[in-house]
């Protein structure tokens, strides 16, 4: 059932967005030459989606152009996931979708129908921090804190995927997560310490 829903909405989306793309990609001169009525885009299609975010089932109507990132931040108010570039180049928006790390700016919200999404807000158990959150605190693996959620979500995936064997491995695996304050060394220390502790992540 879930699978059917997904395919249906995806096909539906592609059809509708194809119509939209024709307008958005048209050169401005062309737009200007067309009669006004023909260049006014149709209202964007809305899609109803159901997904689990941090263990809570959410049903929402989403704009078909909304990224998962904007959906989380603007619609659900889950602003722990950060917008740093919206182009998949900085890693600040990394979340786990069905357990896999993903730049949420590169996934449309409606693609996540039926999926399970974990954000930074879903890691701690009440006041008890996730081991990697705790390690970030202990190692001062942050300064401004804006890239921190993405670094933590990526770091957890790094350990889970068994890519945290050495500092060099961690550095390589984490290189999609930019930090401009320069907390890199402490971030690697934090990930390495959790890896060494053997704590489940």
């Amino acid at each position: 059932m879930e699978k059917y829903c997904y395919q249906n909405s995806r096909r539906d989306f592609l059809r509708k967005s194809g119509t939209l793309a024709a307008f958005y990609l048209a050169p401005t001169v062309l737009v200007k030459a067309l009669p006004l009525e023909s260049v006014i885009p149709m209202p964007a299609p809305k899609e109803k989606i159901k997904l689990i975010v941090n263990g809570v089932e959410r049903t929402a109507e989403v704009d078909s152009r909304s990224t998962l990132l904007d959906f989380l931040r603007e619609q659900l108010g889950l602003t722990g996931t950060k917008k740093g570039c919206a182009m998949g180049q900085c890693g600040a928006c990394i979340v786990h979708i069905d357990g896999k790390r993903m730049n949420s700016c590169l996934s449309l919200a409606l693609f996540n129908n039926g999926k399970t999404v974990t954000t930074i807000e879903g890691l701690a158990n009440g006041d008890e921090l996730h081991p990697l959150q705790e390690a970030f605190v202990v190692n001062d693996a942050m300064q401004c804190g804006y890239c921190t959620p993405g670094q933590i979500m990526s770091g957890i995936a790094c350990i889970r995927e068994k890519k945290a064997g050495s500092r060099e491995d961690i550095q390589r695996y984490m290189s999609g997560n930019i930090c401009r304050c320069g907390a890199y060394q402490n971030i690697v220390d934090a990930i390495a310490s959790v890896q060494a502790s053997g704590k489940p992540v």
């Binding site: 930074i120 807000e121 890691l123 921090l129």
Partner: protein, 739 residues
């Protein structure tokens, strides 16, 4: 002995848990009902005028609320050059008045703001605007145009001693140094949410380094009283100087929200961040150093040109360090600006000195090789006992300690005497070092302390913390002063309604704000001592000076009464005290006040591909007393990362045929990544400065980066024998011929 939490041991960053759980709210993240979204449409020419904007399709598109441009921008008092009586408006908006007129001053300048009920609708409608321009000839090519003296604007000359001393020097080095545009690129996008209550009350959630200064700026823009403007900035996602002033998103959001009578949020895109929030200006420098055969400097000549916008001048102290970092009798400097059709630069971490020290410290390295002297020895030879420019004694200068410790920690004795002569694991090995310096001072600040009956101490000031750990440091100062556990102290910031605090910049926050925290704690201590004498039987006959505050108790000899009990007996549910710190003292004016750093770098360079790998960095600093070691160390590590970016990666590139920036993204503008980071060791002199302030701290943020690029360049020279004077240093500039 009883331990007080956070005093004996360094405590974690005060807001760390908020940051790792995603609870920390940055400007764009505040929930505001009925919010509308504004997006900029930016010019696609570099200079000229907007002739017309075809808005029809965009206005008719779904959810569009308004399109604001020169055609309909409401009258805004701060935008007006003249007052109603015809006299000049003394409170005119500083810089480009966005959306106000149809003049295009640089490529990518916002020319319209599309406002819609959702971000998606605003973005879609922004694509539908059709704009006709009248383009004019423009100039963006710094490296070519700087050679034309008629285009340059003099911006200060300095001379001491003999003007022609350089010609008489027995030993001489000279070189030209060029640095491209570098952009702060903090991870948080510049953002403003503007909320009006009626026509004269404004609340703004803004990414700013100075909530109090932003409050004043907005009050002037709309000609309303300061108290009617509230600026909230709980967290700043990095700034490095770019949030010292309000950018175009601020007036645009406020003007739109006022016009629409609805809250408006404007967040810049990452490409816009490269063009609309300032940058370190492109620069050219020429430096000549003359010396005696024993290495004593006899002359320094340092000339610089940096880029600015045609519509606004931006100056920084590029040549300043050359006047005072070393003892030298004859020094000449000059500084000129080259106005171009670009957006305006602004202060970026280590403004001026980061640029200047690259040239100065590289040149001294050249001189050391020419004289066959050790680079540290030549610096020691020219160590200034007093500031040679002002002739004032240093408030403190422990650079010599930095040299000693840095040499030891990096293993300086392994440095090859002859460049390019040593290999390790098949790679050429090199060691280099360089100094950094920046002014240290303090300004005015006000801090309120509220002691609650339960022993919680709340400190408040209208500042923001862009990441250095201001909150943590202020708590630490109070904890040490009052011997109070850090987990019973809170520091509230980020709200212009709080007592006025300084703008966070120029490495002055700890000194400025810390002094006010110190003063308010002293006042609170006195108040508690007096209350104890007045209300507690046990203290009736104890002299005030013998009453101590310790671990939320009043203590003298064997007597120990909890603060809570004292407040109950005194019938005080809370004690509230506000103290101002007046800034620079008379004593400070009699001294030269600076922070110093010295960086040591070890590099590997591949002998064929010339690939550069930084193996190790040791960064040392004389920043006075270190308040919070944890966060101070992090700040130094960050300076190293910034320095690596400056030396090896960062370069904003223009297409001079259109005036457009062609690498405005993290894919095109290369910044340091995890893989670029070597093992880094931080060491502090950690001796209090006795003059600048009562807490003994100097600044740290700038010197963490200043000098780093030269240290890396010097290490690369030591490894390869090749001197690159044009940043960033790449394998190609080192002679790699492959693709």
């Amino acid at each position: 002995m009883e331990k007080i939490i956070g005093i004996e041991n360094d405590s974690p960053r005060a807001d760390a848990v908020e940051k790792v759980t995603g609870r920390a709210k940055y400007a764009a993240e505040h929930r505001v009902d009925n919010i509308a979204y504004g997006v900029f449409v930016c010019s696609t020419i570099a200079k000229g005028t907007v002739l017309s904007i075809e808005e029809g399709p965009a206005r008719a598109a779904e959810g569009v609320l308004d399109i604001i441009s020169y055609k309909n921008c409401p009258t805004t008092p701060g935008y007006e050059p003249l007052l109603t009586d015809g006299s000049k408006n003394p409170k005119q908006w500083w810089g480009l008045k966005v959306l106000h007129d149809n003049i295009v001053r640089f490529y990518g300048q916002p020319v319209a703001l599309v406002v819609a009920d959702s971000l998606e609708n605003a973005n879609a409608a922004a694509q539908l605007l059709s704009i006709q321009y009248q383009a004019e000839a423009f100039e963006t090519d710094f490296n070519t145009l700087r050679k034309d003296a008629t285009k340059l604007k003099p911006s200060g000359n300095y001379s001491r001693g003999k003007a022609n001393a350089i010609e008489e020097a027995l030993v001489k080095v000279e070189g030209e140094y060029t640095i491209p545009v570098e952009v702060h690129s903090p991870m948080e996008l510049q953002a403003t949410i503007a909320v009006w209550e009626g026509d004269d009350k404004l609340t703004v959630y803004d990414k700013t380094q100075g909530p109090k200064s932003m409050q004043g700026t907005l009050a002037r823009l709309f000609a309303i009283p300061d108290k009617n403007v509230r600026v909230i900035v709980n967290y700043v996602g990095g700034a490095f100087g770019n949030a010292l002033r309000g950018w175009h998103n601020v007036p645009a959001a406020c003007i739109a929200a006022k016009k629409l009578k609805r809250p408006v949020k404007v967040v810049l895109t990452r490409p816009q961040m490269f063009n609309l929030t300032g940058y370190r200006p492109q620069s050219w420098q020429e430096i000549k150093i003359g010396a005696a055969p024993d290495g004593k400097f006899t002359s320094i000549v340092h000339n610089a040109i940096s880029m600015t916008a045609r519509y606004e001048d931006f100056r920084e102290g590029i040549v300043n360090a050359s006047r005072f970092l070393y003892a030298c009798d004859n020094v000449q400097t000059s500084y000129r600006l080259l106005p171009l059709d670009v957006s305006v630069p602004t202060w970026m971490r280590g403004p001026g000195e980061a640029t200047g020290c690259f040239a100065l410290e590289s040149s001294i390295d050249d001189l050391a090789y020419q004289l066959k002297m050790d680079p540290v020895a030549i610096r020691l030879k020219n160590f200034p006992e007093v500031n040679p420019e002002s002739k004032l004694p240093w408030s403190s200068n422990y650079l010599k300690d930095c040299y000693e410790k840095g040499k030891e920690l990096i293993g300086w004795s392994n440095r090859p005497q002859t460049p390019g002569s040593k290999k390790e694991e098949g790679m050429l090995v090199g060691y280099g070092m360089a100094n950094g310096v920046f002014g240290a001072s303090r300004g005015q600040a006000s801090v309120r302390a509220i002691l609650q009956e339960n022993g919680t101490l709340i400190l408040q000031s209208a500042v923001s913390d862009m990441g250095p750990g201001t909150t943590t440091a202020m708590i630490k100062i109070a904890a040490e002063n009052l011997q109070w556990p850090v987990d019973r102290i809170k520091f509230t910031l980020g709200d212009s309604d709080l007592p006025p605090g300084p703008t966070q910049g120029g490495s002055t926050t700890t000194s400025t704000l810390g002094t006010a925290v110190h003063l308010v704690c002293e006042a609170l201590k006195k108040s508690l001592q007096e209350l104890a004498q007045l209300h507690l039987e046990e203290f009736k006959n104890v002299e005030v000076k013998n009453i101590e505050i310790k671990n939320v108790s009043i203590v003298s000899g064997g007597i120990n009464v909890a603060v809570a009990e004292l407040m109950k007996k005194a019938q005080k549910p809370s004690i509230e005290i506000t103290k101002d710190s007046q800034g620079t003292s008379a004593q400070e004016l009699k001294h030269a006040t600076n922070s110093f750093s010295c960086h040591f770098v070890k590099v590997h360079v591949h002998p064929k591909t010339m690939e550069i790998k930084i193996k190790e960095v040791v960064t040392t600093a004389d920043a006075g007393k270190i308040i919070s070691e944890n966060t101070a160390r992090s700040q130094m590590l960050g300076g190293v990362v910034g320095g690596i970016g400056m030396a090896l990666k960062e370069e904003l590139t223009f297409d001079h045929s259109t005036g457009q920036i062609i690498n405005a993204s993290f894919a095109g503008y290369r910044v340091p990544l995890h893989t670029d980071i070597p093992k880094t060791t931080v060491w502090f002199v950690n001796k209090p400065d006795p003059i600048i302030n009562p807490i003994g701290a100097k600044g740290l943020g700038e010197i963490a980066l200043i000098g780093l690029a030269a240290a890396i360049s010097n290490a690369i020279y030591n490894a390869t024998g090749k001197r690159v004077r044009d940043l960033p240093i790449t394998p190609k500039k080192l002679g790699f011929k492959g693709k």
